[in-house]
Amino acid sequence: MTKKQTNIVIYVILALLSALFLFPILLVVINAFKSKFFISTDPFALPFGDMFAGLENFRRGLSSVGFFAAVGRSVCITVLSVAVIVLFCAMCAWFLVRTPGRVSRLLYGAFVFSMVVPFPMIMYTATYLIDRVHLSNVLGMIPVYLGFGAGLSIFLYTAFVKTLPIELEEAAGIDGAGVLSTFFRIVFPLLSPTAITVAILNGMWIWNDYLLPYLVLGDKNKTVPVAIELAMQGAFGAVDLGGLMAMLILAILPILSFYLFAQRYIIEGITAGSVKG
């Protein structure tokens, strides 16, 4: 086989594999436009003729379980928590690196250790405490996510702060900059590559998180994943599959559009969490 022929074979294989990887998502899109009775009887048919439901699923499915409110809540929690995590964890990591000693080492160790602990180990006690200090509401989720996100975020920031030349900060000090202006004018801008990684990793996690908001907020203050799960918990015959398809699409859409803009950052960011080790 010549080089060109080999390449064609590779392209064909890759194209087939891509189709296979995209098919499950495509299937949801197809069924979102199908009237709900045909979704269970004929999931693989294209929505033509009788089956076509237009935007009916989106209209009915989304209004029924308070899904729009759930989207609003999820957006609010995700955006604010990510902003808080990106800022406060950067401050914390910089402080710990620049004040070496036993306390800093202990704190850093505790943050890193928390990454190893699976959620079921602390799910009951953490939920209890969060409830006790009255943080079981939408805005209360922001400090809660700061606590849960601190481990990985401080780990990533610390690795990066260690590579920053301290001379820059010393020069700023000589020029009369205080601690706060040194951090916000000099250090934080330099941290932006890691800040992007931290924002992406935490954003994906918080947007998709199900168990924590389910336990803390319950079904009164549903987030998107909780709303989807609740919609499916109805008696099995009565589940509105059409509405579910519409919800699934709205749960994926924000991530997908974000991904199209920043694919490179996202792939690098998400894998950075693992490879840095």
């Binding site: 890759l14 499950p24 928390s114 699976p118 079921p120 180990m121 009951y124 700061l146 606590g147």
Partner: protein, 282 residues
């Protein structure tokens, strides 16, 4: 900046994060260990019972051991399947061809989707296929196993692929060329030149897949809900149900949580060990 001056700013720089961290992690963790030796239905009513909870967790018919077995078996299958697929994808994408970033983007895409959504997507897909045979994913435990395996391959392969692409890209070109000059076949090139050089990355990916599968919850809940019976219930879901499904069993749930933590911690410790080894080699 002098460390002494900086230390006065502890309250602004560290305290906000530290307080939240203490609240949702440190205190719950310590409380969790303590409560695993007590019986309670509310935390205020906890009474010390020694190791009774741990014994109850292993009692026949409880399902803890079964879910541990199911999770381990699934994790082994997922590790093998995901890493084979990921490595194959990475090898295809490191050939000198165009559109690699497009293909990479497609294979990585399922990673971005949340577990609950993933579970329902595959519920629809597998339910549709199985209904042609008059079956449903909850008919046999083996169908649930297969479903979770397929879902995991779909979700995790792209992630591991990215790590393998980076590793394959870091192999010095000279070694490959030298092997080709010596007349190595493509298989020999893979077996004796490429694989040995990416061995550390394989170790990382194996452990990442392993811990990921062990901690799986959302996908399990959305795809099979543990059905039929509780035969496809994985560890995280099993512990969740011990806590919230059986009144008075919270202590047992907590004991299971501690054991779950130990399993994951050992796996993570092994991972760290292999990662350190890789660094020392470089």
């Amino acid at each position: 900046m002098k460390a002494g001056t900086l230390k006065r700013y502890f309250g602004i720089f560290v305290l906000p994060t530290l307080l939240c961290f203490l609240l949702v992690f440190v205190i719950p963790f310590v409380m969790g260990i303590f409560l695993s030796f007590t019986e309670f239905s509310t935390i205020e009513s906890a009474t010390f019972v020694g190791l009774a909870n741990y014994k109850l967790a292993f009692r026949a018919g409880d399902g803890f051991l079964r879910s541990l077995g199911f999770t381990s078996l699934l994790a082994l299958a997922v590790v093998a399947a995901v890493n084979l697929v990921a490595l194959a994808l990475a090898l295809l994408l490191t050939k000198r061809i165009r559109f690699t970033s497009l293909f990479r983007g497609v294979f990585f895409l399922p990673n971005l989707i949340g577990g609950i959504v993933l579970g329902y997507i595959w519920n629809l897909l597998l339910g549709g296929i199985l209904s042609y045979f008059g079956l449903d994913i909850t008919y046999f435990a083996s169908l649930g196993f297969l479903g979770l395996l397929l879902l995991s391959v779909w979700q995790l392969s792209g992630y591991m692929m990215v790590i393998y692409i980076a590793a394959l890209g870091a192999i010095p070109k000279e070694t490959e060329q030298a092997a080709l000059v010596d007349g190595a076949t493509p298989f020999q090139l893979l077996r004796y030149v490429k694989l040995p050089q990416i061995l550390p990355s394989i170790a990382v990916c194996v452990f990442l897949t392993l811990t990921n599968t062990f901690k799986m919850f959302d996908q399990n809940l959305a795809l099979t809900q543990g059905a039929p019976g509780r035969k496809t219930e994985m560890l995280a879901l099993h512990i969740f149900r011990t806590f919230y499904g059986r009144i008075g069993w919270q202590g047992v749930g907590q004991a299971k949580g501690v054991m779950f933590f130990i399993v994951v911690a050992v796996l993570s410790g092994l991972q760290l060990y292999f990662t350190r080894q890789r660094k020392e080699k470089i």
